[in-house]
Symmetry: C2
Subunit: 468 residues, 2 copies
Amino acid sequence: MSGPEITRIDQAVAAAADAANFWAESKAGLRIQLLNGLAEALEQHQVELIAIADEETGLGTVRLNGEVARTAFQLRGFADAVESGTPYAVVDDPAIAGAPPTGRPHLTRVRQALGPVAMFSASNFPFAFSVLGGDTASALAAGCPVVVKAHSGHPRLSRAVHEVALGVLAAQGLPAGLLGLVEGASRAAGVHLVQHPKIAAVAFTGSYQGGTALWTVANERARPIPFFGELGSINPLLALPEILEHDGEHLAKSLAASITLGCGQFCTSPGVIVLFKHPASEHFIEQFAAALQPLSTHRMLTPSMRRGFDDGIARLQLAPAARPLLQPHTDTDGPAPRLFEVDAQAFIEDAHLREEIFGPVAVVLKVTSVAQAIDVLHAIGGSLTATLWGFEQASDDNRALIRAARQVAGRVLFSGVPTGVAVTAAQQHGGPWPASTQPQSTSVGYAALERFLRPVALQDAPAWLLDE
Amino acid sequence: MSGPEITRIDQAVAAAADAANFWAESKAGLRIQLLNGLAEALEQHQVELIAIADEETGLGTVRLNGEVARTAFQLRGFADAVESGTPYAVVDDPAIAGAPPTGRPHLTRVRQALGPVAMFSASNFPFAFSVLGGDTASALAAGCPVVVKAHSGHPRLSRAVHEVALGVLAAQGLPAGLLGLVEGASRAAGVHLVQHPKIAAVAFTGSYQGGTALWTVANERARPIPFFGELGSINPLLALPEILEHDGEHLAKSLAASITLGCGQFCTSPGVIVLFKHPASEHFIEQFAAALQPLSTHRMLTPSMRRGFDDGIARLQLAPAARPLLQPHTDTDGPAPRLFEVDAQAFIEDAHLREEIFGPVAVVLKVTSVAQAIDVLHAIGGSLTATLWGFEQASDDNRALIRAARQVAGRVLFSGVPTGVAVTAAQQHGGPWPASTQPQSTSVGYAALERFLRPVALQDAPAWLLDE
């Protein structure tokens, strides 16, 4: 890491720290105005920003327009969350005279913004998980300045979006330090940012390796800080034979589309298809392979992601427990989709077979019992999503499978596919390790702003303070 | 660690894991009945339990009776929290037709109990932070079985309270695995418990060294789990000259009582008294020393705690920046209280001077400015409490000091002393590192049960499931 790089990081953090008290104590009106202003500015510059984004990521204008719409919607949604008073919520317990435990002082539980947040952009959502994405929106709504570590996969877009944001801050007379941008592809730059004593929390979306490395750095600080990392997920999907008998053709097509959407570069891409040994499952596998075979993909986000995908496929091709289910094929701009069958028991026993392969691939497991299906889910252990198809009827088997899905996932779907994450109050985008380093928090939906607030109990606070 | 010790831990965890699904899905009625039953049984056996507790801890029957009252109050309070529906709270977002981001599926955010909790008892609260203490009550209320690691400072009491609890479980027809007890003073026993794959979360109250060691173990698991640790706190108290002029005598006495209460063995004991250079402060120091000098203490909880106290005092006596403020004295059963003045700038610069000394001791700092007082608070960095005396008037200086106190503490008091922690909904017993490994959680008060629940979003859940 170069000296100028360190200096730029230190300057961005210092500017954020300088703005932190002002922003932590800012009234709702200012925050609402900023979040709505950022949404509007993003839309005003949509055409030129999407041109840059498409050049850098190859995700295509349809997807990118949708992503800008989501990002603006999300900024406005957090403005609404501020308007509804979430960051200013108070729990007030009046004093009760007498001896404890019944007697007590006056306690007022308020919410304290943590301070400057280091936010690591994701590669695969150049708008929605980047400079003005969900982490930034939720941190600003909570009252925290943000220092964005730009993703090296879309540096020009990051700079352009940051310029747009700086224009909004300037127009509203707000300090530029509320939203800093640092670059540098080196791991050392990220480490320096996480180690900075004035950084109060980290939000990270990315790879398991990169995320655990930075999480370790956060934990090794003299004063460890909260680290909200989304580190990967293989998103099991379990389908019962009955629904496959009735609706196999349609489900096969929607699953094939979900796996290849965005070249499979979604953290919620369904990577493991769990089926019961049954003729309907065999037929579905044929339908699914037939739906997947002709689909082509666009190029992957970065050359290193493509290498990671190719390495993962090579690993599966060499694994004795895996066999390919698609005919030989030719890559286009992106890799051709792949599908493997993996022995269910081997999957349960061998962690390597459960590693996420980022890209358009899924593995099919055939289980012989509900108990083995539950073992598969427990072996996965932590996942952003689990999808259950065919659970319209109550039964003990279904209850047991739903229970296992709830135990390992942050979101359990009973229809549709897990790609596409609605931004709502009820959303949960997290889950046990490695889906999230903080499985009790979410990085999508309005509960995401809770990550950047800490409760403080004020005991016998003077009236003037509570009035302010 | 012996083979039988490992076997007993494994058996206790297995029994907890066997009971976990049943308890996670139990209705409010069962949990309320259990928590209230435990409170009642504790009170029924109060006399004999306190006799054992007093023998083992030397805390005295007045204090111990108060602690049992608090522990029973707390169990009943968590029963009330269950009755009010907290563990079963749902956020429901109906489906909206149309394309995203506005269009969305039906999402129902529910709360999932994490599973078996390993709970490490504290030495200094043999009832309220032990077998049936706040962590156990909140975990059971959340729907999680508990495996208690008994504290080696009160092994007979731990067994006796556990026997009482087993009686309640048996009488109510509930599995004994809901509350397990493991013993063994060795560090290896604790490590084995935290490493156990079926343990889903850890609650710890104790020393910085022991806590960080187990926190590291939890983070080094193949699947890291939430670790809620309270690791220590030095609890600054800042008093303005005006209030000392008016009320110095009374405040000196209450502060001296707080520091010596329970032989200073409270995590909220005020360890750092910050005063402004001013004649009123000088006079207060005299009043305070005079109030402290004649007080005697009971014996400390364990010989190793006493050694820790003596080592800490020896360190201060050798520190060039510290000078004693009390005359030479004789220890009784417990150590005589100690008071030192420490140079404020040295305190800011030298982390060793800020280390917690568990026992009846405080250091006095004289600061020359509001800015230096703020630097003191920021140097402390994380504390369960900060106490501010004399803040009845609004002023920019007062606002700046309150802001700094809120930034470093989980509870900010404006009157009284920090020892004595009310069990209420608004309470916050946590704070930035090292006060808590999870500063956004609390280990006292009804929000404590949030620690053992994780949100799960159910997407398009079938009606039968939502009805159940």
